[in-house]
């Protein structure tokens, strides 16, 4: 178990006296926090926190262990800064970004990763299936991949939602409508990422469109550029994480932002020493997330 990480959960819950507030302070959601704390309690063999309707109350064991936990957590921050300097001296960091990520987010991630010092950051842009393989084989140290995806054998972080839009031809009737509805797109073809790149997320998007009344043919479009080109041709629509911009021939539709949001997670090998880099990417993704 990642003891320091779980101790940080414990210390924060103790300080906030409330799971919801502790989760917010840790920039995470409540379920993984609650599960993490339970794991720690199982690992230590004693209950640390009583869960009550009002919030979280320390048990006698929790109160006794809190001061030492706090020391360890504070020291870990200093240690991680030091470890970061040592790791950077090793040189190259390989990370992967799913092609579904917008350009701006990729460069934000690279900036965050390289800010940790002299490390040179090498970015691989590929499909989720390719990136999971790359992380498993050690060709990538960590990667941001879509969810759902098969990540068996890897450590996967919490799910982060990123804004995603429908993109349609600028002269399409849905682009002029005040309240565009999905069935309006039935005269277009869906320019979608190739299914083999991640069957699970492809199927999830297709099921969402069908559930909302749109069942159309798809043609593969490997990245945003291919999607926008197909859309500008007037024959296709697509989904994109690129925010609305000045792209001739293309219009952005604000449709079902929560359902259509791109879900991503950070994956890494359990034994990879990349905690600082995961934290750096975590912060970037968290700032960019939709609520």
């Amino acid at each position: 178990m990642d003891l320091i990480r779980h101790l940080r959960f414990f210390v924060t819950v103790a300080e906030e006296g409330h799971f919801g507030r502790a989760a917010a302070a840790l920039d995470m959601t409540q379920p993984p926090l609650s599960q993490g704390l339970r794991k720690l309690e199982q690992h230590l063999g004693s209950e640390l926190v009583h869960r009550t309707r009002q919030g979280a109350v320390l048990t006698p064991a929790g109160a006794e262990l809190l001061p030492r936990a706090r020391l360890l957590v504070d020291d870990a921050d200093r240690f991680l800064a030091e470890a970061g300097r040592v790791a950077r001296a090793r040189g190259l960091l390989h990370w992967g970004a799913t092609r579904a990520l917008p350009d701006r987010l990729v460069t934000l991630c690279v900036t965050a990763l390289s800010r940790r010092g002299e490390a040179t950051v090498s970015t691989r842009s590929a499909s989720t299936v390719e990136l999971v393989d790359a992380v498993r084989s050690g060709m990538c140290d960590l990667a941001v991949v879509e969810r759902p995806a098969l990540t068996e054998g890897l450590d996967a972080g919490p799910v982060v939602k990123l804004r995603r839009w429908l993109v349609v031809p600028a002269d399409h009737r849905s682009a002029r409508s005040d309240r565009p509805r999905l069935p309006m797109l039935s005269d277009l073809t869906f320019a979608a990422p190739p299914r083999a790149g991640n069957p699970a997320s492809f199927d999830a998007v297709q099921d969402l469109l069908r559930e909302r009344g749109l069942d159309v043919d798809t043609t593969p479009a490997v990245d945003d550029r291919a999607v926008l080109a197909a859309v500008a041709a007037g024959t296709h629509f697509g989904v994109s994480t690129s925010p609305p911009g000045a792209v001739p021939g293309v219009a952005w539709l604000d449709w079902a932002p929560s359902a259509l949001a791109l879900r991503v997670r950070i994956v890494r090998r359990a034994d990879a020493d990349v905690g600082v880099h995961v934290d750096a990417l975590d912060r970037v993704l968290f700032k960019e997330r939709v609520r």
Binding site: P31, S34, R147, A204
Partner: protein, 316 residues
């Protein structure tokens, strides 16, 4: 590897079927009652979560108790559905108490995966009887830690919810990534695909139960109603599928014996974990059928001609 055209092996094809469906898959298949013991395995020795497939060893243990004279199969039981684990089928879905024979309760558990029936049978024979059967058959990596009631109770605790309905809603939330013990073979009832086909083989070869109980078990298992998993791979006239499914959250399983007329029966066990948390994934159900078909096709063989068989002159 050498160049040129290479035909994908059955194992490669099965792996591709699972990947295409967005699930991780484990499979083991075995020709039953054949001394040549042909087998096919895709990670078949790894531990996997049983889910409702646990009702199969429970059912066979019930049959063994009847064989040993410790239970009366036709004895009547009164069941109050509201006292039992909820479920969408069978007695678990009833509004009012019923009285049924033990063997009909067992059949309801197997044919429609009746949770209430499983509670009652587990209460009647206990996990000890199941362990005894598993030990007798040498299935050392199969473990039954309790019934559906226990699994649901733990799910409610681990998802910080109050009811089973809320727990399952939390599990299918696409924005949460739960790692509950019900998904972890180390903490819940678990087995290996290889041990499940060994268990089915023991029934089909007649070595696990008395001849009467063997016939009863086979007949009940052939009456399972679900057509969407292994059975979907064999939409042929004359084929019997004797199986038991298991489903919880991202986990979809089925173990079955596929019986083609005039051929050796083939036991096949398929266990999957889906990437998507959605409660219904027809693509994974169909992949279970397709993987089973590829495996079974690889192992099919005609029964040897029996000189004293039913087609001989004196039986006419």
């Amino acid at each position: 590897m050498n160049g040129g055209v290479r035909r994908d092996t059955a194992v490669d094809r099965i792996r591709a079927v699972f990947a295409d469906a967005g699930c991780t898959g484990w499979l083991h298949a075995r020709r039953c009652a054949d001394p040549r013991a042909a087998m096919l395995s895709v990670r078949g020795d790894e531990r996997v979560v049983l889910a409702s497939v646990y009702k199969l060893p429970l059912f066979l243990a019930f049959c063994a108790e009847v064989d040993a004279g410790r239970l009366d199969a036709s004895g009547q039981l009164r069941i109050v559905p509201s006292d039992c684990t909820p479920g969408p089928t069978g007695i678990a879905s009833f509004r009012d108490p019923v009285t049924m024979s033990r063997r009909d309760v067992a059949a309801s558990m197997m044919t429609v995966s009746d949770n209430a029936a499983a509670d009652v049978l587990l209460g009647e024979i206990g996990t000890t009887a199941v362990e005894e059967l598993l030990t007798r058959l040498g299935l050392t990596r199969t473990r039954i830690v309790g019934g559906t009631a226990d699994v649901y109770q733990r799910l409610v605790e681990e998802t910080d919810t109050r009811t089973t309905v809320e727990a399952f809603r939390a599990l299918t939330d696409i924005d949460a990534a739960w790692t509950v013990s019900a998904y972890d073979p180390a903490y819940t009832s678990a087995t290996t695909p290889e041990e499940m086909t060994r268990l089915l083989e023991a029934v089909w070869s007649g070595s696990a139960l008395s001849p009467e109980s063997t016939a009863f078990a086979q007949q009940v298992m052939r009456a399972q109603i679900w057509p969407h998993r292994i059975a979907s791979g064999f939409p042929h006239r004359g084929v019997a599928i004797a199986g038991k499914t298991g489903t919880i959250g991202i986990i979809r399983n089925e173990v079955a014996v596929v019986e083609f007329p005039g051929e050796y029966p083939i036991a096949v066990a398929v266990f999957t974990r889906a990437a998507r948390a959605d409660p219904v994934l027809p693509v994974v159900d169909a992949a279970i059928g397709e993987a089973a078909r590829i495996a079974v096709t690889e192992l099919r063989a005609p029964l040897p001609d029996d000189p004293a068989g039913p087609s001989s002159a004196e039986s006419a």
